[in-house]
Amino acid sequence: MAVVVVGERDVGFGARVALEQGRALGLRSIRGTLRQPQVWLPGLLFPIFIAAVNTSAMGRAVEFLPGFDGVDSLLDFLLVASITQSVLFGGLAAGSDTATDIQTGFFDRLLASPVSRTSILVGRLMGASVTGALQAMVFIVLYGAFGARVAAGVPGGLLLIAYAMVLALVIGGFAAMLALRTGSAEAVQNMFPLTFIVLFVSSAFFPTESMEGAYRSIASYNPVTWMVDGMRYQVIVGLDWSRAAGSLLVAAGLAALAIFGANMALRARLRRAT
């Protein structure tokens, strides 16, 4: 086996092995999440519950409230909101699981092995991203069974899945950053109310046209609104690559920021440890 010594910061295997390590750690992350129903089930049930309550209580609101132009069913409108909500909540697992690894000593086990330090983070985020894709698929299929349709068809569905994957990197990256900074799963869980606020002060559940005052202003500048609106267009109206690209670019920008922050936190933790 060829060994490439690339200095102390990395650990000596080539890129192929680093990718394989990232894949193995990603698989571990996915397995870990799927084997903890208490982690992913609330992230599925809560959005479904909110969608069920909203469609039952306000199903006809789409006919007269502003901002619902072209919306046939509130379930169509809520599809992207449910995916966003589910991924935001589920993505926290990437952080809390990282913190748990630190608390239990499993992180030390990784550090004592010649694993690429970057692979530790990549694996965790890869796992979060794949889980996000699974969540999006569940909502597309489930809401589809209740009559929701993605106007952009199969490409639109794929865009929603891609959006969920990138969004998972955003929340997973920020959660992992907090985990690596604090080493505390509790601190990561405390992000939950923040994600809740960010989600509800956006156009996820109501169009900004139906909002007033400061709430409307905040929602207009909330990146979640920018992401959700572009994706919702694919569901309500039809395929629009430029709007989809806008949404994905916002998500990708935030993901890049989050991953950069998480990587810095990882480096800081390694420096503190050594």
Binding site: V5, E8, Q21, F106
Partner: protein, 320 residues
């Protein structure tokens, strides 16, 4: 040729606290080296430095011929590490963990499966390999931890308190496995707070206290150097001064518990009856008598003036 572990002037500070205050060590090829000390003495800090998890504040350490700072990656490829508390992901199965550990060491998936089968068989976990680790007993987790540490066939194996909390059967099974590994040529660095464990397994030991090595060498030689059999008599508290005076002629005082007097029997166990007679003549009723051959605890006491708390292996450990 260099030794598997060479340490010179190793220091680690945490702020103002000096956890390791200049440790020098050499561990030779193919030996089991016991690293003893009470909790907080600096054992784990030294292990963390040698396994690249902690950067030394000063000094030099080479493991498997590589510097732990400048060639940390090479060290990690050469060593196997089973850290304290067997930090194992409870959500994964034993087989999945072995495969993951192998891939982390750059081993192909096919080879990882092959080695996994061999190792799980070796540590007696084949039947449980498809079960999640969360369902394993303490002994099974330790055995899996050992298998994980061996997956890349390391030349140096670090075992940090591997039997803490284990029941006697599991402990002996692990000792047998460590011996077997050693016979196959693996150098083992074993930290433990159990003196018996070091006595049974280690060919050489070092005792660390307050971040410094206070004794180092062959356990047998160290015990012989402490010398005398230790006689301890328990008496009524008000009789302690008289007892001490009566026994002074038979040997030097040794540390003992509060209601006892202990001496090192200068002329060996043959003088026990004479010592007890001296107490009787002095009018001191003896409540209990203990006669101990020199132990590593005596070596520790002789070096530090203290007994090693928690040094004896408990009769009952965790469930197997």
């Amino acid at each position: 040729m260099s030794h598997p572990i060479e340490v010179e002037g190793l220091v680690r500070r945490f702020g103002d606290i000096v956890a390791v205050a200049g440790v020098d060590l050499v561990v030779k090829q193919g030996e089991i080296f016991g690293f003893l000390g009470p909790n907080g003495a600096g054992k784990t800090t030294v292990v963390r430095m040698l396994t690249t998890l902690l950067r030394p504040s000063a000094g030099v350490a080479r493991v498997a011929g590589h510097d732990v700072v400048s060639a940390a990656g090479a060290v990690r490829r050469s060593i196997g590490v089973a850290l304290q508390d067997a930090a194992i992901d409870p959500l994964m199965t034993g087989r999945e963990l072995v495969r993951l550990q192998a891939v982390l060491h750059g081993i192909s998936r096919t080879e990882a499966d092959r080695r996994g089968d061999v190792l799980l068989e070796r540590v007696g976990l084949s039947l449980a390999s498809q079960r999640r680790v969360g369902t394993y007993s303490g002994g099974m987790r330790r055995r899996l931890d050992l298998a994980l540490a061996l997956v890349h066939e390391p030349s140096v194996l670090f075992l940090d308190e591997p039997t803490t909390g284990l029941d006697p059967t599991s402990r002996r099974a692990l000792w047998d496995e460590v011996r077997r590994l050693n016979h196959e040529g693996t150098t083992v660095f074993l930290t433990t707070q159990y003196l018996e464990e070091a006595d049974v397994l280690a060919g050489r030991i070092a005792i660390i206290d307050d971040g410094r090595i206070v004794r180092e060498g062959d356990p047998k030689v160290l015990k012989e150097a402490v010398g005398d059999y230790r006689l301890q008599v328990t008496v009524a508290p008000h009789q302690l001064p008289v007892a001490r005076q009566a026994l002074a002629a038979f040997g030097e005082p040794r540390p003992s518990h509060e209601t006892a007097v202990a001496i090192g029997l200068r002329a060996g166990p043959a003088t026990v009856s004479a010592a007890l007679r001296a107490l009787e003549d002095a009018g001191v009723p003896v409540e209990q008598v203990e006669l101990d051959a020199p132990s590593l605890d005596d070596v520790f006491a002789e070096a530090t003036g203290r007994r090693l708390e928690g040094a004896s292996i408990p009769d009952e450990g965790g469930p197997e």
